[in-house]
Symmetry: C2
Subunit: 333 residues, 2 copies
């Protein structure tokens, strides 16, 4: 694992480099989240959009476009598009997960209600759809339509498979692509397409986003068991308490004795948990080395992301994207 050696973090370097374009993206987001008739829409959206997310996805679109020699109005529109899609999925996710906190603040479904989160999510998805149509690129529309289907399918899959001990690492990967990687890869791919990049570069940008997203999500799932809540905004063991079958658990289940399997069936499938169960799970992770095996997988995907940069032009942005692939796994131990 290589550590980030720059003074600033890679996403901060990207943010600094892309600041003027990101200002345009933020302006467009505020403009398009407005609703003449239904003030509830910008209220709910602003709560989430202005909560200080990193705006990683729109930055990926702008970075990909600039890296391939094209930026401008359409790149800004697509950056706003992916942020709208992201925000819409967060609103729906919080309803589905019955979450009460997001980015350290109460969720919209808690502050308003589930109804508002469902409908405002639908509205933002429609707004993203209008924005991408404005670019006039059928290729971009095709990419984002497919990404949307992968996202929605992954969410349903997570709902039905996530508490089933038979869930394999393959299914986990599909869920991760839906949850995270599909929008990352669409974000970088449409950046390349709108810049008119050659096919090989567009493919490399897709691969980068896909691998980065997977590394990011595996790292996130791992940190749920080893992070500290001050840096992640989540409490250790949240996924465990919600009965989520993430990679460390899947790997432990695969090697479990009959007795251990009964433990996992009780705490994950039945979500019948007692004091000490989290500690027991951590011991089983230790016994089979599943946390470090999970970390190794995150590193493999991070390396894949970096390798895909090889066919892209030599450019400061390429270095920042490489640094970002290191950074998402640098938090892991």
């Amino acid at each position: 694992m290589s550590l980030d050696t720059h003074a600033t973090k890679p996403h901060e370097a990207l943010a600094a480099h892309l600041a003027p374009a990101m200002d345009a993206v933020n302006h467009l987001i505020r403009l398009r989240m407005a609703s003449k008739h239904a003030p509830r829409i910008p209220e709910v959206t602003a709560h989430l959009v202005e909560a200080g997310g990193k705006r990683l996805r729109p930055m990926l679109t702008l970075a990909a476009a600039e890296l391939c020699g094209g930026s401008g109005e359409n790149a800004v529109k697509l950056a706003a598009t992916v942020e709208f899609i992201h925000t819409a999925t967060l609103l729906h996710d919080d309803v589905v997960d019955e979450s009460h906190q997001r980015r350290g603040r109460p969720t919209a479904n808690l502050l308003w209600d589930n109804k508002s989160s469902v409908l405002v999510g639908d509205y933002l998805f429609s707004r993203s759809f209008q924005l991408m149509v404005e670019t006039g690129s059928l290729r971009v529309l095709d990419i984002l339509a497919n990404a949307s289907a992968t996202i929605a399918e992954g969410e349903v899959l997570q709902l039905t498979a996530a508490q089933n001990l038979a869930t394999t690492e393959d299914i986990y990967l599909q869920v991760v692509r839906g949850k995270t990687a599909a929008l990352f890869s669409a974000a970088t791919e449409v950046g390349g397409v709108i810049a008119g990049a050659p096919e090989a570069q567009v493919k490399a940008l897709f691969d980068y986003g896909d691998a980065l997203g997977i590394a990011f999500q595996i790292a996130d799932d791992l940190l749920d068991y080893q992070g500290d809540s001050s840096s992640t905004g989540k409490n250790v063991g949240d996924d465990f308490r919600e009965g989520k079958l993430t990679l460390p658990v899947i790997k432990a289940v695969a090697q479990a004795t009959k007795e251990e399997r009964q433990f996992w069936a009780r705490v994950i499938e039945k979500r019948n948990q007692n004091e000490g169960d989290l500690e027991q799970a951590l011991e089983l992770f230790e016994k089979y080395g599943t946390l470090s095996a999970t970390r190794d997988e995150a590193l493999i995907w991070s390396d894949k992301a970096k390798a895909s940069m090889a066919s892209l032009p030599d450019h400061p942005i390429r270095d920042m994207l490489t640094g970002l692939a290191d950074y998402v796994v640098a938090r892991l131990r």
Copy 2:
């Protein structure tokens, strides 16, 4: 009000005329609602799609396309598109309205859960998006993106305005456009566009769908107070019990005495309802003639729909569409 004098109802005549194309639409719907990985998706969708809805929206698209001399694969794709959008909105509506019955059967949110309805709705919306992209028509994408935004905005508006006595007839009309007319008008408009119809005909098709949708929704809101549940599948006064500010109530509130206004504030805004309140509301409707005034509005929109047919080609389908505009208000008394 002209009554339907044909032996078959207009939507049945349309269904018979369009049967081969509708078979293709139904085949495409079943094909595209599948999910390799998440069987929950086709389960939930089939429950709704196969519950015997009239498929009015896809028929409107096919009818508009054929009327303008163009049918074929893209018209079938767009017909499936509008049915998917419709089904997605029904799934989300039932979550938002906490409904337990739809088309005489338990709702998906009751049979499965709200989560499944939210996510499967998202999936169907994504699938509709993929289908429309396949037609390769940016004009079609623009129309459906705008319709989606109008639908979502109307739903939020209904959520926030529907229980506010200050709601005007203008706002009611915006809600109705979002709930019903936006998808009707998009369905007919994209039919004309995909058939390569001249602008004047495309405009006429939009106007027809818009007026038909408004007439349909006003009639639906009126029947809530005077229909019998065996034909509408709803119980008389459902909207009243849910505190919905539909046209008969808005018209009664506009003319209310101070005392009557207090009654409306209690039963609609506060939803604090007692035995006899529905009867009291019906008496106030009678006092101000708001049910017949509402019926008159439905007839005006039905006439507008028929008038917009004037610039379209003389064709059996045109007669069926005219008959349909009569039919949606023929149920009213």
